[in-house]
C-alpha cells in the first residue's frame, strides 16, 4: 500500500499544480467559456445581424476583409491592391486601370491601415481608406458598393506606412513615407543618405461630396523613417502627429544603427497652417509622375490618369508649422486620445509608454522652449511636453486605442498582451494575454472623438497551435475581447486573411441601410452596355471582335456565334440584365487567359479571349444563378485564319 501511495501522492501534487484553482483571471478561451456566458456574447443567431462592421486589413494579400462583430463572421474580401479571380477585379478590362502606377501595372501591394471617414470627429461610415505600402498608394473603398473606387499613387514616397489616417472631417487622408529617398529620385551613392535623403508627408484632400482624392501638398521632412501617424482631434484638430525612427539617418543594418539614439521623435505638423500657406500661393510645384485611378459606378469602368506635378512644401518655409517631440526608442504607434489632449508614443524598444500633452506642447512652443533643432525644425524638451509615463506596463508596446470611458488599451508584442490603463493617472488597470504576439488592436471608432468601447479586436502576428494545423502556413488570427466591464474578457478567436495589420470598425447601422442592392440598368453608361437582348450584337473591326452580350436567367444572348477566327482578339462585353437583389451571373470561356467575370445586376464587364485553335468552343455561367443554371451556356465557332466563315450570332434560332 505504501508503495502505491507514493506515486499517487506524486500524481496528486502534479494534478494540483496543473488544475491550479488560483487563477483569478479566466482568460483562456476554454476556461472562459466554461466559466461564464462567453459563447452567448459572441453568438449571433441565424438570420440575425452583427452589431458592428470591422474592416480588417488583409496585409500582404493586398485586400480588405469585412467582418461582423461580435461573431467574427467574414462577409466579404474586397480586392484593393490585388487581382481577385473571384470577382475579376484586376482581371477584367474595366478594373485593370485601377492597378496602374508610374511603374506600370502593379497587381499587388501590402495593405496596412484602414481608416473610416469622419464628420466632426465621429466615424460616418461613408468610405474606408487603406494604404498600399510597397508601391505607395492610397485607396478609397465606397461603403455603398463595398468596392474600391479610387486609388492615388503617392510620389516621392517609399514604404507608404504612416498612412492612411483621416482628419476629423475627412479634410485629408494622410500618407507618410516609411523610407526616406532622394527627392526627386536620382542616381546617387547610397552612403550619401544622411542629409540628402528626405521623407515626404503627403496630405491628400478628399472632396466632401464625392470623395475625390487629390494631393494638396507634400511636406518634405528630414530623412528619418516615418512609422505611424494619427490626427489631432477636438482641441488638437488641425495638427497631425507622426512617429519617427531612424533619426540617426542610417542606411544599413537599421536593427542596430537605427536603435542608437535614446529618443527619436514624434513630428507634430500644424497642417492648417500649411494649408493656409498653400492656399495663399505658397509651396513649389515640382515635376512628378503618379497615377490617379478612378472607378465610375455608371460606366462600370476605371480610368487611369498620369499626373505630372506635385506641390511640395519645405518646413522652413512655414515657421511654426512643424515641431519635433522627443520620444523614447523607435516609437511605432502614434495615438491620440478622444479629447485630443494626449499623444501616445509606443516606443517599441522601450518598456515604458510615453504620453505627450498637447497643451504643454503649445505652451512650450509659445514660450520658445527649444532643445535644439533638426534641419531647422525646432525640437522641444522631452520634459516640457511629457504628460506622463505608464511605467513598465509590458514589453514591446506597439499600438494604443481608446474607449469612451477614459481608458486606453495598448498592445505589447514581446510580452504578448493587451494592457488597459487609465488616461491621466497612467495606472495599469488590467491585462489580458494574446495568443500570440499581438500587433495592432482596434476598438470601433477608436481613432475618433467617439469610440464605441464595447469590444477590442487584437490582431496577432503569431498563431501557432490556436487552430487545427494546416501545414507550415497557419491562418492569421484575431481575438475579440469584451471591454464593457472593469476587466477585459477574451470572447473569441477568429481567423483572418493576409496579415491583419490594423482594422477600423463602426456600428453596422451607420452603413447597412445605405448598402446598394443592384445597379440601375438605365443608368449603365458602359460604352458596350446593352439594355435589352434586342441591342446585343457582334462587330468585327480588323482582327478585333466586340461581342455585346447580355445575360439573364437562364441564357446568354447571343449564345451561338460564328465567324471568329484564330488570332482574333475577342472582347466579351457582358451586361447582366437582372434587376433583382443578389442575382449575379458569371461567365467564362474555355482557354481564356484570364479569370471569370462575376457581374452584378445592371453591370457590364469585359474579358478578352484570344482563340488559338479552330473548333467550336463553349462558354457558360459560372455563378449558380437559377434552377436552369446548368442550361446557361453557349458556343463560339472558331475558323482558321483567312477563312470566309460569315460573322453571325443568334439565340434560340432552332427551337422546335
Amino acid at each position: 500500500m505504501k508503495n502505491i501511495l507514493k506515486p499517487l501522492l506524486a500524481i496528486g501534487v502534479f494534478l494540483l499544480a496543473f488544475t491550479s484553482c488560483d487563477n483569478s483571471k479566466k482568460s483562456d478561451s476554454r476556461s472562459g467559456a466554461l466559466a461564464g456566458n462567453v459563447a452567448e456574447k459572441v453568438y449571433v443567431a441565424p438570420g440575425e445581424h452583427d452589431e458592428f462592421y470591422a474592416f480588417v486589413s488583409g496585409g500582404f494579400s493586398g485586400q480588405l476583409s469585412v467582418y461582423g462583430l461580435p461573431s467574427g463572421r467574414l462577409f466579404k474580401v474586397i480586392p484593393v491592391f490585388s487581382q481577385d479571380p473571384e470577382k475579376a477585379w484586376g482581371y477584367n478590362e474595366e478594373t485593370k486601370p485601377m492597378l496602374n502606377t508610374s511603374h506600370g501595372f502593379v497587381p499587388w501591394d501590402d495593405a496596412h491601415h484602414p481608416d473610416i471617414s469622419q464628420t466632426q470627429g465621429v466615424v460616418d461610415g461613408r468610405w474606408v481608406f487603406i494604404n498600399g505600402n510597397n508601391t505607395p498608394r492610397i485607396a478609397k473603398i465606397d461603403l455603398t458598393t463595398f468596392e474600391t473606387t479610387e486609388i492615388i499613387e503617392v510620389p516621392n514616397s517609399a514604404g507608404n506606412h504612416s498612412s492612411s489616417f483621416v482628419t476629423e472631417n475627412t479634410e485629408y487622408v494622410v500618407a507618410g513615407t516609411r523610407f526616406s529617398v532622394p527627392i526627386p529620385q536620382r542616381d546617387m551613392p547610397i552612403k550619401e543618405y544622411k542629409g540628402n535623403f528626405k521623407g515626404a508627408l503627403t496630405f491628400i484632400s478628399v472632396d466632401p461630396q464625392d470623395g475625390n482624392m487629390d494631393i494638396k501638398f507634400q511636406l518634405i521632412m528630414p530623412g528619418f523613417d516615418y512609422d505611424l501617424s494619427h490626427p489631432g482631434r477636438g482641441k488638437s484638430h488641425g495638427w497631425f502627429f507622426f512617429t519617427t525612427y531612424n533619426s540617426e539617418e542610417a542606411n544599413t543594418l537599421l536593427e542596430v544603427n537605427a536603435s542608437q539614439n535614446d529618443k527619436d521623435f514624434i513630428a507634430a505638423v500644424n497642417w492648417k497652417k500649411i494649408e493656409e500657406y498653400v492656399n495663399n500661393g505658397g509651396g513649389t510645384k515640382v515635376p512628378a509622375n503618379y497615377a490617379h485611378n478612378v472607378y465610375d459606378d455608371e460606366t462600370h469602368s476605371a480610368t487611369s490618369t498620369m499626373k505630372k506635378e506635385v506641390l511640395v512644401v519645405n518646413p522652413a518655409e512655414v515657421p511654426g508649422a512643424v515641431y519635433l517631440l522627443p520620444t523614447p526608442k523607435s516609437p511605432h504607434g502614434c495615438d491620440v486620445d478622444p479629447t485630443g489632449e494626449y499623444i501616445v508614443g509606443n516606443g517599441k524598444l522601450s518598456a515604458n509608454l510615453t504620453v505627450h500633452s498637447f497643451t504643454k506642447m503649445l505652451d512650450a512652443i509659445e514660450n520658445q522652449k527649444f532643445a535644439g533643432d533638426a534641419y531647422g525644425i525646432p525640437i522641444l524638451n522631452f520634459e516640457d511636453v511629457l504628460a506622463g509615463t505608464v511605467e513598465q506596463p509590458g514589453l514591446g508596446p506597439l499600438h494604443t486605442e481608446f474607449d469612451d470611458k477614459g481608458n486606453a488599451y495598448t498592445t505589447f508584442f514581446i510580452s504578448s498582451e493587451v494592457v488597459k490603463w487609465k488616461v491621466g493617472t497612467w495606472e495599469v488597470l488590467d491585462r489580458q494575454p494574446c495568443y500570440y504576439s499581438v500587433g495592432h488592436l482596434m476598438i470601433p471608432g477608436g481613432n475618433s472623438q467617439k469610440p464605441w468601447g464595447k469590444y477590442v479586436v487584437a490582431m496577432n502576428k503569431i498563431t501557432k497551435d490556436r487552430y487545427l494545423p494546416t501545414g507550415p502556413e497557419v491562418t492569421q488570427s484575431a481575438q475579440l475581447y469584451d471591454i464593457s466591464g472593469d476587466k477585459m474578457e477574451l470572447l473569441l478567436d477568429f481567423p483572418t486573411i493576409g496579415e491583419p495589420h490594423y482594422a477600423a470598425g463602426c456600428p453596422a447601422d451607420l452603413i447597412k441601410s445605405r448598402s446598394k442592392k443592384i445597379y440601375n440598368l438605365e443608368d449603365n453608361k458602359h460604352p458596350f452596355a446593352v439594355k435589352s437582348e434586342a441591342e446585343t450584337k457582334v462587330v468585327r473591326d480588323g482582327n478585333t471582335v466586340h461581342i455585346s452580350m447580355s445575360m439573364i436567367r437562364s441564357h446568354f444572348s447571343p449564345d451561338n456565334i460564328e465567324g471568329v477566327k484564330v488570332g482574333d482578339k475577342v472582347y466579351f462585353h457582358v451586361t447582366n440584365l437582372e434587376q433583382d437583389y443578389d442575382v449575379p451571373h458569371g461567365i467564362s470561356m474555355i482557354g481564356a487567359n484570364t479569370s471569370e467575370l462575376l457581374i452584378m445586376p445592371g453591370q457590364t464587364e469585359t474579358f478578352l479571349w484570344e482563340p488559338k485553335q479552330e473548333g467550336v468552343w463553349p462558354f457558360y455561367c459560372t455563378d449558380f444563378c437559377s434552377a436552369l443554371h446548368q442550361e446557361m451556356q453557349g458556343y463560339v465557332r472558331v475558323s482558321p485564319v483567312g477563312s470566309n466563315t460569315e460573322l453571325k450570332w443568334s439565340l434560340g434560332e432552332e427551337i422546335e
Partner: protein, 191 residues
C-alpha cells in the same frame, strides 16, 4: 488498479469541487494586475508543443546542464513566455557558477515570491531585443536591454565584455541567440 483508479477519481473530484468553491468565493486580487497575466498562468507560447523547430532561447537554457539556476530563476519570475516570443532575442545566460559567485544569500533572497519583480528586472537586464554574433557585439558601445536600461560593452583583447562579463560560448536558437557568460549582470541602480 481499481483502487488506484478510484483514488484518482476521488482526488480529481475533490480538486474540481474545491475549484468551484474557491472561484465562487474569490475576490479580485488587484495586486495581480502589476504582473503579466500571460506569465501568471501556464499558458502561452512557451507551452506550445513544437518538437520540429530549432529550440528557442528558453529551450536552449532548459537543455543546458550549466544553467539550472538561471532556468529556476526564469521560472520563478514566470518569464517563460517572453523568452519564446518571435523576438529576436539575445539572452546573456550566466552559468550556475556565475550565480554561486554572487554574495551569499543574494540568490535565495531573489527567489522569494515577494521579490519576483526585482528578480524579473534582473533577468530582463540579461535580454536584448536583437540577435548578434559575439564578433558583431564588438561594434557596440552599449545594448538597450528589455528592462529599459543599458548594459555597457567594452572590447578587451578583441573580445566583447558585456557588463564586465565574458562570453564563454554562443548558441544560436530558433528565436535568437544565447551567449553564455561568466557573471551575473546587475542592473545599474542610478537610473
Amino acid at each position: 488498479m481499481n483502487l488506484v483508479g478510484k483514488f484518482i477519481y476521488v482526488l480529481l473530484g475533490i480538486l474540481l469541487f474545491s475549484c468551484k468553491n474557491e472561484s465562487n468565493n474569490k475576490t479580485v486580487d488587484n495586486s495581480a494586475i502589476v504582473e503579466s497575466a500571460s506569465q501568471s498562468e501556464r499558458t502561452g507560447q512557451a507551452f506550445v508543443i513544437d518538437d520540429e523547430g530549432r529550440p528557442t532561447v528558453l529551450k536552449v537554457a532548459i537543455n543546458s546542464p550549466n544553467h539550472t539556476t538561471l532556468v529556476a530563476a526564469v521560472q520563478a519570475a514566470q518569464l517563460e513566455n517572453v523568452l519564446v516570443n518571435a523576438g529576436p532575442l539575445m539572452v546573456f545566460a550566466p552559468t550556475d557558477e556565475a550565480f554561486t559567485a554572487l554574495p551569499e544569500g543574494t540568490l535565495e533572497n531573489l527567489l522569494k515570491p515577494e521579490n519576483k519583480k526585482a528578480l524579473a528586472n534582473i533577468l530582463k537586464y540579461h535580454v536584448t531585443p536583437g540577435n548578434y554574433s559575439k564578433e558583431f557585439l564588438t561594434t557596440f558601445d552599449r545594448l538597450g536591454q528589455a528592462n529599459n536600461q543599458y548594459v555597457k560593452i567594452e572590447v578587451i583583447n578583441g573580445e566583447p565584455m558585456v557588463g564586465g562579463a565574458k562570453i564563454l560560448a554562443s548558441i544560436p536558437a530558433g528565436n535568437g541567440i544565447v551567449h553564455v557568460i561568466d557573471k551575473v549582470l546587475l542592473p545599474p541602480s542610478n537610473e
